[in-house]
Point group: C2
Chain length 356, copies 2
DNA sequence: ACTTGTCATGTTAGCGCTACCATTACTGCC
DNA sequence: GGCAGTAATGGTAGCGCTAACATGACAAGT
């Protein structure tokens, strides 16, 4: 790893005791751009160019440099590069929690898209035990990322202000807020609720119930659903609310709780597929036919939805498309291109399968 | 955001044309340590100390500095700090894919543990479309992370060599390899296979089958299982292999394929809970009683396992503990503490529920 | 009083890279 | 031949921060 330079050895300002007073700063011992430059017999900046924009370097020089890089095993220090160029090559993705969330596909799409653009993703979770928003924002902004993607995050006014003040491109996702910080790609949760209400009503269901997470967006879907159902003349709308993140278990308990309250339920709208799956499971465990006696509707259309038995009727969201669009927004902004309309409604679709 | 300093304004080396020749480098326009220092009437290093090690700064000075920080909205530039101190405060986590993987809990535990230690996680996926190992390693090592956690990754000899050469602490997880790169926390997949074989045999099953992913570790479990079953006198062992990552769907198809081959199967050992769930689902869809006619065993003990119907018998792995231990290894190494034994066998346990 | 030690702060010199010109050689064109 | 234009490369000066020492003030020890 330490390179065996020929005898034209490297000593310039590191000359043994220029003034004998101060100990020279130690450095990392890694191969640097300068080492490569010396080995290739060019200046540092030429090596830099050979690596970033090979097209503007003469072919022979390029070959010599590439050889030197290979021989030394040189890996550019991106921190130094980032500091000098004021471009970190880092993008922050903030999610409430990574485990078992609907946002995974979005995060994956982000990682992939940014990897292609030469950026790495740094991951922040707002839902972990010792969470302090202030600390998270400092940790993120302190890295001077080229962009920040907020996924399913509710943020305080101060938080919004600080992000805005940082001047870093921000994309909020998975929701359509009236006052985006900067850019936004999502869909209307209230419309999901209304459309699902129409869909189920049209199918003839008249005794709907809800099992929902207590998070903000689930609440939006729920209230859209309730309002439309009321408008359609449905008086009763029993609901069971569970803390996010939701699990299959919560769904089972949800149906149990619902049935303990009211016998007369013909369809359950759940705020996630996991919840819906739980409701289906509990129904089956109790010998209740799905959708015969109780129909079930989910949200998210996760990978398993079409394959559970009965196949889950749900709301499809294209999480990968959200991630791709968010990445596009940020890369456009980085390259200085015009991003056009800063708000993208990615929409959703109701997927009618067997469970409702 | 731009701070309104009083009239004792900031101008030192940025003096209008020191020599009038070269344009001054533009900078980011962000508030810097120096701005804060001037506002507080101290030197830059004192501000640095006030932020990193407040205990060694006089209380009054500290208060003045904190006030200045608050007034300017200063956020330290961690790239610059990292470059100067040779400590990036970044840890890289490499996974094959983030979507729907057993490693999620490990990643979550890592994020949490490192957040407490003041490090951020940078995420790398080796399983994405345009994957090139070389590029990934450059992208990671180029950030000079304080540690690298490899999760469920099979790496080439060159890759191993380059990681080793980088001198960065590396923790491999979710497996026990005979030749770890550096540190390791995992368990023996072959032993899982053997123990499951013993477990199922003891329960009286004599016609086992396998539905397994084609990844390396799943293969290890499978061969442990097969060897032990053979040793126990089981001659036939039909298997169906599906590409990773596995899904519920694959499980359904797996059982279908198995039943098309051989009718005589009394238990199916799956390489993941998702697969097992699929097998259970397919059985139910076909009216086959679980575990009455066919028993099912999973691997992973994901959150849903206890709550599906029938509750899934599976192998429990403490993914969070793996993450925590990996984080511990790396923070110990960073702090220069002795990590002790560099290999930790975290073990596993068989959880007997209803499906087998 | 003088040494020794501790505390709080400052000075200097980089960390490894790239932006911003400057320079040199060469090409084409009137 | 002279001049602009282009292509390839180099020199210098930072980016914003911290390591390593240096300094000055004061308390304690003999």
């Amino acid at each position: 790893m330490r390179l065996a330079v020929t005898s034209t050895t490297v000593t310039s300002k590191l000359e043994p005791a220029k003034k004998a007073s101060r100990a020279a700063r130690r450095g990392t011992g890694d191969t640097t751009l300068n080492d490569v430059a010396k080995l290739a017999g060019v200046s540092a900046i030429t090596v830099s160019r050979a690596l970033k924009t090979p097209s503007i370097v003469a072919p022979e020089t390029l070959a010599r440099i590439q050889d030197a890089v290979a021989r030394t095993g040189y890996v550019p220090n991106l921190m130094a590069g980032g500091l000098a160029s004021n471009r970190s090559g880092l993008v922050a993705a903030l999610v409430p929690t990574i485990a078992g969330s609907v946002f995974l596909e979005t995060v994956q799409a982000l990682t992939d898209a940014f990897a292609d653009a030469g950026c790495q993703l740094i991951l922040g979770q707002s839902g972990y035990s010792g969470f302090r928003e202030d600390a998270l924002i400092n940790a993120i902004v302190g890295r001077r990322p080229d962009g920040i993607v907020l996924t399913g995050i509710m943020h305080s006014p101060q938080g919004r202000k600080r992000l805005l003040a940082s001047g870093i491109p921000v994309v909020e996702t998975w929701d359509l807020t009236p006052t985006p910080i900067d850019m936004l790609v999502g869909f209307s949760h209230e419309k999901v609720g209304r459309d699902v209400a129409d869909f189920l009503y049209a199918k003839g269901y008249r005794r709907p119930a809800i099992v929902s997470a207590d998070d903000y967006r689930a609440g939006l879907r729920r209230s859209g659903f309730e309002q439309r159902m009321q408008a359609l003349g449905v008086a009763q709308l029993p609901a069971h609310v569970v803390p996010a993140p939701t699990s299959l278990r919560d769904g089972r308990e949800g149906l149990a709780a619902l049935l303990a309250k009211t016998a007369a339920v013909d369809v359950v709208f759940c705020s996630s597929d996991a919840l819906a799956h739980g409701v289906v499971t509990e129904a089956q465990a109790r010998g209740i036919a799905v959708p015969g006696e109780i129909a079930v509707m989910g949200f998210g259309d996760l990978a398993f939805a079409p394959y559970i038995h009965p196949a889950l009727t749900t709301v499809h969201i294209d999480g990968r498309a959200i991630g791709r669009q968010a990445a596009q927004f940020i890369t456009d902004r980085i390259e200085g291109r015009d991003v056009g309309e800063r708000v993208r409604d990615i929409g959703f679709s109701i997927v009618s399968r067997q469970s409702a």
